[in-house]
Symmetry: C2
Subunit: 340 residues, 2 copies
């Protein structure tokens, strides 16, 4: 008999669903739009319909002998791990305090595991990406905001009520830019796509010479444009990414000092600007953490480094990390329960 899992990445914009086997092989994949404005019932109906179609495809392929061991769903927001309720999700208005797990289990007759999307992405990277040789790692996702996930000894670290990994609100500048969370100077205010655009505009407003003065007036001015300017040598853009790197280095230095994890992985759209911010990041983390300096040779190109030092690197699965990680959840659960 053939066994597989379905992973769902339920974002505020995209709804992606994939069938994955226990080795991490992608078997089938569907990408839809999350039509949030049409309401929760509509989105859940679409999700269930697409899941059924994938399950049917798997049955056809394996002549009725494929077993779906469960569905993992990654969602942006806080989740009550025990009940599977979405406690709060700014990107899914009207879903708060709703029993998503129970609802979908009822419609599909298959066990559902809910997970925060950043945690799912961390688990995916640990399973099949940059962390595939590491039982423990920290993932920092740099997107519109900054998210995080910790995998300790092969399992997502949830904390006491499921809210661990809110790295975006760790502080890097006590009197810094105000954050939506109520604090000032959270890393989200210095290393997100939103922050990159803000910091670029701030420096431009101060009158610094830059090719960005023209570009910033265009509606499509975004963090990608700032990155391209930085790579062309624009001094203002370069400084913005140096600040991104310094702030990330401070955060990772703190994590190294506190947790001494072997691996820190940067994912999300902004991580593709790696070339622009990573030199400052490595410089800063070395300056901030004597543990990092003591456990990491300066020559990071050595092939031995990965297994004998604290390693900081880019995510390898791109936008699919969360999808694989979501599928991993029921597979891990099955492996655990079948062992007993």
């Amino acid at each position: 008999m053939f066994s597989y899992a379905i992973g769902v990445d339920l974002g505020g914009t995209n709804l992606r669903i994939a069938a994955v086997d226990e080795y991490g092989m992608l078997l089938s994949k569907t990408a839809l739009e999350t039509e949030v404005s049409r309401g929760r019932e509509h989105v859940i109906r679409e999700l269930c319909q697409a899941t059924k179609e994938i399950a049917q495809r798997m049955q056809d392929k394996h002549r009725g002998d494929a077993t779906l061991c469960g569905i993992g769903i990654g969602v942006p927001g806080l989740i009550d791990i025990e009940s599977g309720h979405l406690v709060e999700s700014p990107n899914l208005p009207g879903w708060s305090d709703y029993d998503v797990k129970g609802d979908i289990e009822g419609r599909l007759g298959t066990p559902v595991i809910m997970e925060n999307d950043a945690n799912a992405a961390a688990l995916g990277e640990q399973w099949l990406g940059a962390g595939r040789n590491s039982e423990s790692m920290c993932m920092i996702t740099l997107g519109t905001g900054v998210g995080g996930g910790l995998v300790l000894n092969g399992k997502i670290w949830h904390g006491w009520n499921g809210m661990a990994g809110e790295l975006g609100h760790c502080n890097v500048e006590p009197d810094g830019h105000p954050c939506n969370c109520g604090s000032h100077g959270c890393i989200e205010q210095y290393a997100s796509a939103t922050a990159i655009v803000r910091m670029a505009r701030e420096t431009l407003a101060s009158g610094a010479a830059s090719e960005m003065h023209k570009l910033a007036a265009e509606p499509e001015f975004n963090s990608r444009v700032v990155y391209e300017c930085a790579m062309r040598g624009d001094e203002v853009a370069r400084k913005v990414f140096e600040r991104v790197g310094r702030c990330l280095g401070l955060l990772i230095g703190n994590m190294v000092n506190a947790l001494n994890l072997p691996l820190y992985v940067l994912g999300g759209g902004v991580s593709s600007a790696w070339d622009a911010f990573s030199p400052a990041l490595f410089d800063e983390v070395r300056r901030r953490s004597f543990l990092y300096a003591a456990t990491t040779p300066l020559d990071r190109s050595s092939i031995l480094v990965e297994h004998h030092s604290t390693f900081i690197t880019r995510a390898l699965l791109g936008g699919d990390g969360g999808l694989y990680g979501a599928a991993r959840l029921p597979l891990l659960h099955q492996a655990m329960t079948s062992k007993v």
Copy 2:
């Protein structure tokens, strides 16, 4: 047959040794001076002699039927967990890269487990002190410096090479006071006894009115004196402890956001100034961590709070936490291996 363990707290000044049973009952205790200046061999001989005497006392009491299951030793410094070598220990000069574990095992014929002293203190508090109802906790030790230890699911979290818990070098002020570790603005520069005296002197030098002007000239001027002035209402002393609290609140806020642990325990000599710094600490952690604010009722006096919120409190075992934690190490090891 009666089984017990011996815990050793091997500090740069004091050498304390205790026999403890599996329930955490203190059976016998010896306190010596660590005569560091007389060399490593002398200290190890003293340690072994005192341990033998305690073991003999236990045999006499139990008519030759007492089994010593192992010796746990808490040491200030970095330890290579696998080998038991002291990698680095500023307070024990001449002990670096020495096989303390092998040496003592050879002399006493009993298994020895080496541990960092702050980790041992965390384990002691989790076993018998403020963390006795909590499987996971973070301990921050405020002494001459600032140390830390993490207990996750009942075990010390060592990180990938045994160096986790260096909380004293987590950053709270990116451009702050220079630290011995090479960084600037580590929490150790704002919440240690040394830092309290420095901050008091800095403010006095600025000319602020304070009863401390006279006291600061005395040779016995220390963090305790600053505390007493703060409690008598001296504005400069009060501000110093407010800063201690704010910096600790920032650090703990970051820990709450990243790890979502149920419990944060403050120990060490400076923690006795709790009344002076804790109001600012609670205010700051609430401001810095929306997770803390979301998981902690404002009325902390409720008896229900301990089990339904993020809890920040003082250590309960005082200077004995490390001693109990050290004894706990062989007991935990025995429980684990006898289960197999």
